[in-house]
């Protein structure tokens, strides 16, 4: 999965069309526990991948989330 594909997939899952790598998550109300659960469920369901919830919650930007997921995948 490429970085761009992953970003598109997460944006679709979160119904967050303007989501970019540079999007700051730590001050966006949309980045709540439900959004984090949505991502965890998507990764588990479609990729049998379990990423760290704590690291996901501590991600400051969407780029951090992509780094986390791709590092877990590899």
């Amino acid at each position: 999965m490429t970085r761009a594909e992953l970003l598109r997939k997460l944006a679709a899952q979160l119904d967050w069309p303007d989501l970019q790598e540079s999007t700051r998550l730590d001050d966006d109300a949309r980045w709540d526990s439900v959004a984090q659960l949505d991502i965890l469920m998507l990764l588990q369901r479609d990729h049998a991948m379990s990423v760290s919830a704590q690291e996901l919650q501590e991600s400051a930007t969407m780029a951090d989330v992509l780094d986390l997921v791709l590092a877990t995948e590899s």
């Binding site: 109300a29 980045w31 709540d32 526990s33 439900v34 984090q36 659960l37 965890l40 469920m41 588990q44 369901r45 049998a48 379990s50 990423v51 760290s52 919830a53 704590q54 996901l56 919650q57």
Partner: protein, 342 residues
């Protein structure tokens, strides 16, 4: 051989209903449809202000004992699980013994677990029966988490409902154990992810604990309310439970294909859908029963089990797999060969 056999199950749900429409009115951006999509729950039952865990448990036990026409003088073991006891002390099981009119020869005690309550309770009761210490046991579970939940904390209020369940287990002669094998486990590093921080001895309730705080997800709570780190609980569950299921069928030297029904702790639709997919369990073997009661913590498995028995989905001799997991972290799983007395 003498071994413990489940004879019947019943439950009680309090009268008050909390619907998604009522909740959506409290939480901006959360429609009733969104709550249903995320949780799979249409409504939860909520105990009245004056209704405690013992009240729910007595109702469930009375239903079961009357339905099975049990001579109460035969009961010699009462095991009660709750995380919302009537009092710090005495043990709630002692209050229930008196209210059920059981004899003073009854061994009665509480244990404190949440979502893993059912397999742990079965392990305790089977151990005491198989050892010859008890012969007729009442396993009761009841929780009133609603009393811990802040009304404006949607992360938990949309999920949890109050309930009690009752299971009658007796000593019988069978060719092999009817309940088991068991796999039980614990990881206390997750304790802080599902907790009521204040109110007991580690952190006695002080005025400052009643100050409301609103988190980034716009959920409000005090230190005396239930807190759940949903993503952390999800991570724990999807990592732990598939291995738990594999371990218990391996311990029984069978495969998952040999199991007739799988009844997991009814946590939420998101979790159950993920686990069902991970374990590749077909719909006809995977039990879901939470839409009208929510996640009732200690009672989810017995309520779901009763639902499939009442629906005629369980035949004598069927092999059932039950697994509970959550607060603690604590987990447990076991098999049940369904073979009550005729």
């Amino acid at each position: 051989m003498r071994t413990a056999v489940i004879q019947g199950i019943d439950h009680y749900l309090p009268e008050e209903r909390l619907t998604n429409a009522e909740l959506s009115a409290l939480y901006p951006g959360w429609t009733a449809d969104k709550i249903l999509e995320k949780t799979g729950i249409l409504e939860r039952r909520i105990a009245a202000d004056t209704e405690c865990a013992s009240d729910l448990a007595v109702r469930a036990a009375d239903r079961l004992l009357e339905r099975l026409d049990v001579d109460r003088s035969r009961i010699d073991l009462l095991v009660f699980c709750t995380q919302s006891p009537d009092h710090f002390l005495p043990t709630t099981a002692c209050l229930i013994q008196e209210r059920l009119g059981l004899g003073t020869n009854v061994a009665a005690f509480d244990y404190n677990l949440g979502c893993s309550a059912f397999p742990y309770g079965l392990a305790i009761v089977r151990g005491l029966i198989d050892a010859g210490i008890a012969s007729t046991a009442l396993l009761l579970m009841a929780d009133t988490y609603s009393k811990f939940i802040h009304p404006l904390d949607k992360s938990v209020r949309t999920l949890f409902g109050d309930a009690a369940s009752a299971v009658l287990i007796t000593a019988e002669e069978r060719a092999a154990p009817s309940i088991g094998p068991f796999v039980l486990g614990t990881d206390g590093t997750g304790a802080g992810n599902l907790i009521v921080p204040a109110g007991a001895m580690r952190h006695p309730l002080a005025t400052a604990d009643l100050a409301e705080k609103t988190d980034k997800s716009d959920n409000t709570r005090t230190a005396a309310n239930l807190f759940m780190n949903g993503p952390a609980i999800f991570e724990f569950t999807v990592k732990r439970v598939p291995a738990l299921i594999r371990d218990v069928v391996a311990a029984a030297e069978i495969s998952l294909d040999d199991v007739d029904l799988v009844i997991l702790h009814q946590a939420s639709e998101m979790l159950l859908a993920t686990l069902q997919g991970s374990l590749r369990i077909p719909d006809e073997k995977f039990v879901r029963h939470y839409s009208r009661c929510g996640n009732t913590v200690s009672s989810t498995i017995p309520i779901a089990l009763q639902s499939v028995i009442d629906a005629g989905r369980v035949a004598r001799g069927d092999v059932l797999l039950v697994a509970g997991f959550g607060v603690g972290y604590s987990w447990g799983a076991n098999l049940i060969r369904w073979e009550p007395n005729a």
